[in-house]
Symmetry: C2
Subunit: 559 residues, 2 copies
């Protein structure tokens, strides 16, 4: 937090490690880990609020994200994770209301987005990583607390007079549960809509058997048996995990990053912020060496393993730019390096889908590309000589709103014309939030194009071939390149940021919707709207007056 | 427009008829109808703007809706409809910008909702009614004009220097195309997302062959051939229609409505607005007589046919309340009448699915129930003695956010305890915007419940049985009824209207998403957000300064 930023606030750093945790306790007992939330009241990320009743802010959630990541990479032996509270009388009161009340609109939206991504990642760990999450609800579990529980696969709750689940946002704060709660009620747990309606408008929540009957939790048990039963459920699930019980994890060593004026550097990723033009140029460097020969060698490389290194760098960079560089609305995606080597890494990942670590690396890349998709920044990919948009890195072109690829080479330069290549990794390794690959979502009109491309793995496609295959948008030649690209970037940076956010969210996800895409589309968009409405955030809005003893005053007009 | 309303504006009346049209010309030539938009510049619904360049406001769209309805009911012989412009040099410039600029937030949102519903209805006519819509683009076709064309199944465009399709909202106005345009680009026409991105940020639009190659239109033809080719395409489609070429339509006679203080009366539907409690009580009356014996008799009854009469009344009432009674946020749904007769009508509709008119009546009811679902009002159903929530009318209970059914009877009253019944019409006749029946969407957790209910057609279910079957939410008895219902209504009316809108939109549509649900969810929610943002609607927002010669000034922060 040592850099000033364009937000006028101290820089938020998403990097942390267990030794620095203030709010979470991690305990590992063989195949079962426990993540206990024990929020330090005076440990808020920003001044001005106290994190009472295990309520959380972004700082608490940054630690949770870090813990979830480490369990995946550092603990192959862990097959189940219990999320619970480290406090006696409360599970979690949800996001801190005073923090929300004093936050800017952008901060609220960004905070919800990150917490959503962490919870989606928890579900992904359960579904795809063999690390199943459960919630042990040992006290009142409200709002974002219950939404965290909803992101797990089994909720066991104490059956006492004190412990309830609730979503009190609508009646108490005039906002929505902002972290997927409503969507998970009806679309994950399939709670009947009228019961969900009652539940979501009832401050005091639901407890005991009714919570089970309605599907709000999976099991209620006597308080005295809670830990024993939660542990038993977790052990059952861990026993079904395909993670190796006796493998070694890899340590997520501190991520190297330097910020030097407007240049942010990581191993293999560099970002230059151009404030005058309102854009950030992000360049991903290809690998410097041939890939390791087998999974043991991947393990030995640890965080130096190139695909993992770029995943970590891009992940941090995306979060950094979103949070600390709000005025930079256009991200220009570039690559530089040896295309053959990138392809060789993709072959390695594709060959070892059964290896737990190779799988974790792939899933991490998947999550990073998904973060890019929902980042509410315009994404342009630039394919120039010397680039290596191959397979995994080609996803950057496919994630972009638009791409420009040089047709031929620059006059007088010695570099050959750029090419792009598809690899096996473009056909299922990195689905979007809508469940489709970027290729499938791109070619809804002509799904046969996806099949055609499957027969061209590894083939270098020049601008003409790439355009014919539908992989890139525009292919100016040397003569037109500078003007066309420059004008496109200028035009983009001049449009209304809000209109672009809404437009991009509408155009990027053609095809089906999933639980996850519904959270980012329907739920988030409505919440963002409510986060602008005087009934919530005006001087007498419920979110603002909360805790003052006053009730919110509402404009009664329905929109 | 003779009544003052709570909006402080003249009352908007959605009822009209061809003799009163000011903006549309309907021509019928055998199986092909032509709807020509010819907007009267000084014919705006409200003062303060001129409807130049075939731009439209709500008044123009009310006529379009009426014309579409009449083509369905009054013209069984019409199998295809060409939408075109009656002006020489312009197809349509979209929604009128000055009108939007001077409108309240609620008006904008309501306007977009109604125009969306009309366009969805156009698509439904093509898909289910045997009346296929085509667009003949005979001049620049921008924004809402292009979105209207997108709602048709075939777009043929003049290939001249003047005629383009465009969505200039983002670059020009800093808002989204608000009538499904972005969604239809990628999810209906499957335009590649990067091309859709370029197109939606390019003021001047796309013309000629590129528009065909990109999938923005289906065909470009020389201006001199435009009418001939459009007519030929329409005739081809009409030839495939299953509508009867030689049947007589039924006249949509003027809808009888009286507004007497706070009571609105139609045949079979009464609504009492209770301003003190912030709610409207809507009572649907069951049929007075047994149903007609066959389709000829249905035809003879015309608009007196009970299911059609309630569809028309509810349709108008919903639009009236939405637009003219913004502060009434809770609609309480009741029925009264003979349950056996309602069931008999349902049997009649279920028996004659092949009859064009019975089909039209069913589809109209389907659209009315869908309108209810997306009305952004809380819906409570009250099931009391004397009610007739059977089959088609049971959809009101299933559409409600919550329902209360009296268990037993009121002490001292002679009326028997209320019952509800399912009929064949609950199992497919009235899908929601998400493509599922209300029963299927309700029982996502237990789809077998739907099958169980299929075996209980026509069986009167008392409160206990209805609750066990999952059809109703709460079943208080005589002793608890008054307090429980009263408190629930009071509590609902006290919450923030905005939070309720977002919550209900999130809970009502469990299950899959469709083109239509994506329009009402993702697209509409983002647009509503943008409609609150200073970049669009602030004093220097692009929507406000449009036409002043100034450019919008934007807060460059991305959210």
């Amino acid at each position: 937090m040592d850099h000033a930023t364009t937000t006028g606030q101290p820089l938020v750093d998403f990097r942390t490690e267990p030794a620095r945790y203030r709010h979470w306790k991690v305990a590992i007992d063989g195949p079962v880990a426990t993540l206990a939330m024990d929020v330090k009241e005076d440990g808020g990320l920003r001044p001005g609020y106290e994190l009472k009743l295990n309520s959380y802010d972004l700082g608490v959630d940054i630690e949770l994200y870090d813990a979830v990541q480490r369990l995946r990479f550092e603990h192959p032996e862990v097959g189940a994770v219990i999320i619970t509270s480290g406090k006696e009388r409360i599970f979690c009161a949800g996001a801190n209301i005073r923090m929300l009340g004093q936050s800017s609109h952008a901060w609220k939206v960004n905070f919800c987005k990150f917490t959503n991504e962490t919870r989606n990642g928890i579900e992904e760990a359960s579904a795809e990583s063999g690390q199943c999450y459960l919630a042990m609800v040992n006290g009142p579990c409200a709002g974002g607390g219950y939404e965290l529980a909803l992101a797990t696969e089994w909720i066991v709750m104490a059956d006492d007079g004190n412990t309830t689940v609730s979503l009190p946002e609508v009646p108490l704060l005039a906002v929505l549960p902002g972290t997927g709660g409503l969507t998970r009620l009806v679309d994950k747990r399939h709670v009947r809509r009228d019961r969900a309606d009652f539940f979501s408008t009832t401050e005091e929540g639901v407890k005991g058997q009714r919570a089970v009957t309605w599907g709000l939790v999976d099991e209620v048990v006597p308080r005295t048996k809670l830990e024993e039963i939660a542990k038993a459920r977790a052990t059952e699930r861990a026993a079904k995990s395909d993670r190796p019980r006796h493998a070694n994890g890899i340590a997520l060593t501190p991520l190297e990053r330097t910020i030097d004026a407007d240049t942010i550097r990581y191993p293999f990723v560099t970002c230059v912020v151009d404030r005058a033009r309102g854009l950030a140029e992000i360049t991903v460097q290809g690998p410097q060496t041939a890939p390791p020969s087998d999974t043991a060698a991947i393990q030995a490389e640890g965080t130096g393993f190139w695909p993992l290194a770029i995943a970590r760098a891009l992940d941090d960079l995306i979060l950094h730019l979103r949070t600390n560089e709000e005025e930079i609305g256009l991200w220009v995606l570039k690559t530089a390096g040896d295309a053959d080597r990138v392809e060789a890494y993709d072959r390695l990942l594709a060959e070892h889908t059964g290896d737990w670590l190779a799988r974790e690396v792939r899933l991490y890349l998947k999550r990073v590309f998904k973060r890019l998709d929902v980042s509410s920044r315009s994404l342009f990919a630039i394919v120039e000589p010397g680039s290596c948009f191959v397979g995994t890195l080609l996803e950057l072109v496919l994630a972009a709103d638009r791409s420009y690829m040089l047709d031929g080479t620059f006059e007088g330069s010695g570099s050959p014309a750029p090419t792009v290549r598809v690899t096996a990794m473009n056909f299922g390794a990195y689905p979007m939030v809508n469940g489709l690959t970027r290729l499938a979502s791109r070619f809804l009109a002509e799904p046969a194009r996806v099949d055609d491309l499957k027969r061209r793995l590894g083939e270098p496609l020049d601008a003409t071939a790439a355009a014919e295959a539908g992989l890139v948008t525009f292919t100016p030649d040397d003569i037109d390149w500078d003007d066309e690209v420059r004008l496109a970037l200028e035009a983009r940076a001049a449009f209304s940021p809000d209109a672009l956010t809404g437009m991009e969210a509408s155009l990027r996800f053609g095809g089906p919707e999933t639980l996850e895409s519904k959270i980012f589309a329907r739920l988030t968009a409505w919440q963002n709207w409510i986060f602008q409405r005087p009934n919530a955030v005006g001087p007498k809005g419920a979110l603002q007056v909360y805790g003052s003893g006053q009730r919110g005053e509402f404009d009664r007009r329905r929109v």
